[in-house]
Symmetry: D2
Subunit: 343 residues, 4 copies
């Protein structure tokens, strides 16, 4: 950590900051410069009480040098983590973060058994490794369709039995988490819940792998800290997911930030996938951004597929049809080897 | 709602959209233009299945004309709502949204009884109407100080008994909500929880007025929809709070969006206050933005005050000291009458 | 400047960075920490070749500590600058940045002599100190009305003769700058030109005070650097102007960032005013944000006034009518003394 | 265009808006709804005076339905444009926007003849089709290195003679444009100049193909309108370039918005390339985002290459070395066929 003093800070002010640092049991390194003095801090094992330093007279700002996340950091865990999903109740056992990239596909919302089974068969046929589908839907409006709930989970279970695809579905709160953790193979936490710390902690104790989506205005550090909440409860099976951030741009619903993929790879050992369906909100951009996600080095993608998007109860305009999905899979199979992966 | 067709859409495509609209029991108004056709929809009482229309061939986009929120809307409730807080356990009864603007002040976090009482007396003396203070703290890091919890609530209760100031404090999840709703006079929901729908619903049933903070990347519509979640459970005592949004700007922690105040006043009957402490994150900007908040027409402000910010356990750099707070109050008393308010 | 090494950087890498720093004629201060080493740099009078350091093996990042602007900095010029405008061709001499806050008002675009004179008389009557009005208009579309040009300048001159108000009007490029600098009392540079360095340099040699608007995505540092371009050519008569930045928010055309006012006051000696007309783009938000601008400590505001906004050729929806302007002035006169200013 | 009336608008207000529309020579289509009335407008060939309508009593908002750009629109020019660069002074003739994707590579800034020739040979060897390199540099600070100017152009010419690569280099203002248009094969206009309308117009008359970079906070519509400025002067040889937009995210210098590529392809006939060097600002992200750019469907990329980035005078940390570039080219050659392109 580095304390930067104001240009006009007195020698007394500098000494007083150094004393305070020493009082914390740390070492202060004063570096007088041409226009101002900076003071380096070393010796800390835990977090430094930054606020206390920022409040001292003459202090311009306090710059953090070491990162505040630990369990998610590549520095403490240099090898990439492989998260295993499935292997129970008839589902295949699928690794995420290994040599094989993973495609999760399915409807935005589970609507009927027939709809879900139709789509599940189609995506399985085309090569998807997991089935996605919302039983509990977080909706901006209390008046919107909120999902089939437990009935939706039962439909997903049936689709798993039939296709062998492990299921990933969202838990929207601590109540639904219990049901989802019991029935699904992987628990998704949505962007709006990325800093729902009660839910993150509960997810850390739920015993199933977690798919953690980046919030709409979350920095990479905040995403890591959210993962840290889950991991600090003992659940290390965390997969991150980029799904677009909010900007001024209006040609897509969100702006998909693919540069976060190499950034995650550099700083963390956790796998990361990309969701181009929510990330763009437009059907005609799903295939291009899916290809880009694989090319940028993501460990997989999550795509919404619907056999009849015009009748979908939720997010129809961003779902692709099974034929488009199969064509996309053919393209992805050719891109994966370029980045030394398989599909 | 308005359906805009692509420039090259055929007459059949237009007719097919009109048919679909009629099948929904609605009325279609085709308006052929020089380069393209637009189709107006009228007759809907509830939401139109937009996705279905967007998926039809030849449709460029579907534009929503009427707003999706109802209970929070000024159109259904033309007169401004006054939310009453306190009146129990020795607390004064304070209206928010009336002629008198309201100042909520206190420490970021409750640390000790002595700290809280010292600050409570000081802000009361200077003219604050409510005491704020966090007992439960939502923290980005699982390793940060998470608040004193129930013990913090007990300290706040004691401060209320002594000063007569009603208490507003944050509930960070459904568990803490129970305790907070029992002990506090007003329940604060934080920016990171603005779309924690489970918590919003529970707040709608908790029986206490709600202070709902705008999320860091929330549109005004989403803020209204969050209020709608609370109100749809029967709790109409909702006060909105602007506390800064996330932008590229780096001279403040967040960018305080004061224009949202007149926008709320125009579209909704709910009161709105401003939090310049979190909105800027810098002590030297709290007083200027507090004055601006009153001048722009806010129903009040929420300010962090600490008698010794350099020792604060949380957010010290944005707290002002009691002397600064008293000076600020003197300025606010002169600004209030300019906008036909009192303080 | 501070060089942060990667956690696994070898002793040789650290030494090699220190050597490179010494080769630059500077002093290196290595600070070994628990997880990584940071190296402070002192002794630099000019810019450090940052890129060279960032490219060395083992370097994680290079953090800049001292600010890169000089002429605009309060550190080199502690007293606030007062910019004097007018005093020629019948115009009053008006100080900006002194005890008196300044209101600039007038039409968005000069349309006819009658329109401009009508509005000029009205704003003068209500207490405006400068007349604004666009003769050259920067337009997003090449097909939009681009202003009356030289004819517009002649109309503004006539309005100055009649009312005694100094004129501020925009130069959109180096050609129009010559005409504007000749005719107007103050030259406005628009947000889209904030980093048009050719124009900034020419403005630095034009001999008239400059009103420099912040770009739509400009950081405060970039705004200062733009001022530095003007000042480095010898023109120190620069007034900054906040006019809204671009964010995801959609209830206003831009998001007015009032916190930049105290930030400028802290870091620079240059005056700063606020333009709530462009900053919000909505007539009903102009008066509230104008009041807020004065309350936050701005040295003045710039407001669009039109006697018949429904016929305006440009930006009608954000202009207020003379009656609204007079009412606003009455409010501003009561707010100014609260921040120890006059109007 | 669509006029949306307020919920409480009277029948008279609606009629008055319709009259005004008819007075403009247009047709009004009133559509009374359950809560409000919307009025469609048809019959316009040019722009509708929107401001006049927005100012009428009872009008809530005016929604634009047809897009304001024409020459850049795919609706008026359904086939993709191929821009030809080079073919003179020893340079190959290179198509941009055809079956073959184009890689432009070279140093950020031209520093010496030796540096430029070394890099030019290396990128040519690896398969680049154009040589990039800045002779005139737009710099945030007036104190930074501003490029070699005319001398830099001469060095680039020499590199062209030797390698046969056409040259693309930036014009930073109307003065440098003359020199650049004379010497270079393609003129680059930078992000900060995207709305420098004087420069855009001059570029429209300069007789050379234009590479137009998207501004840091520019919407897609504004990018098209900037192209429209160039094209309306008669120069249809315009290639667009995405180079990152400004957001709250801090793990890259800018956020590269790859979704703009399919959006451009859908709405316009102009080619679009991607600049991952400026788009990320970090060397380790250049190759991943370059692959992603091709996979998303871009017509090419522009990459900074330097044989000794640690000594670069400008933007060293984002340049890749020739070996990395050659490895990247090998990957790009495998991705191109996946999207039916060659390299």
């Amino acid at each position: 950590m580095l304390v930067v003093m104001e240009a006009g800070a007195t020698r007394e002010a500098v000494e007083s900051v150094c004393s305070e640092i020493r009082r914390m049991g740390l070492t202060a390194h004063a570096m007088p410069g041409a226009t101002r003095t900076a003071i380096g801090i070393t010796g800390n094992t835990g977090p430094v009480p930054r606020a206390r330093l920022e409040s001292l007279p003459g202090v311009l700002e306090v710059i953090q040098v070491t990162q505040p996340w630990k369990l998610a950091s590549r520095e403490v865990h240099p090898d990439p983590t492989v998260v295993w999903v499935g292997g129970e109740r008839g589902a295949a056992r699928v690794p995420i973060g290994g040599a094989r990239v993973v495609v999760m596909a399915g409807p935005c919302a589970v609507e009927t058994a027939e709809q879900t089974l139709t789509i599940a068969r189609a995506v399985r046929e085309a090569g998807a490794a997991l089935l996605r589908g919302g039983a509990f839907k977080p909706r901006t409006s209390p008046y919107s369709f909120q999902g089939l709930g437990a009935e939706g989970l039962a439909i997903l279970s049936r689709a798993r039995s039939e296709t062998g695809l492990p299921i990933v579905t969202e838990a929207v709160d601590t109540e639904s988490l219990k049901l989802v953790a019991e029935q699904a193979d992987m628990v998704q936490l949505g962007a709006r819940n990325m800093q729902n710390f009660q839910l993150l902690r509960a997810a850390g104790r739920c015993g199933k792998p977690i798919l953690l989506k980046r919030g709409l205005a979350a920095t990479l550090e905040e995403l890591f800290m959210a993962a840290e909440y889950v991991m600090s409860e003992g659940n290390y099976q965390v997969v991150l997911c980029e799904r677009g951030v909010r900007t001024f741009a209006d040609h897509t619903r969100n702006t998909l930030d693919l540069s976060v993929v190499p950034a995650v790879k550099r700083l963390s050992h956790l796998p990361i996938i990309v969701d181009p369906s929510h990330g763009t909100g437009r059907r005609n951009k799903v295939a291009p951004l899916s290809r880009a996600a694989l090319a940028v080095g993501a460990d997989g993608i999550m795509v919404e597929v619907h056999h009849a998007p015009e009748t979908a109860l939720s997010d129809g305009p961003q779902a692709i049809v099974p034929g488009e999905f199969a064509a996309l899979m053919a393209q992805l199979r050719r891109i994966a080897p370029v980045v030394d992966r398989e599909l």
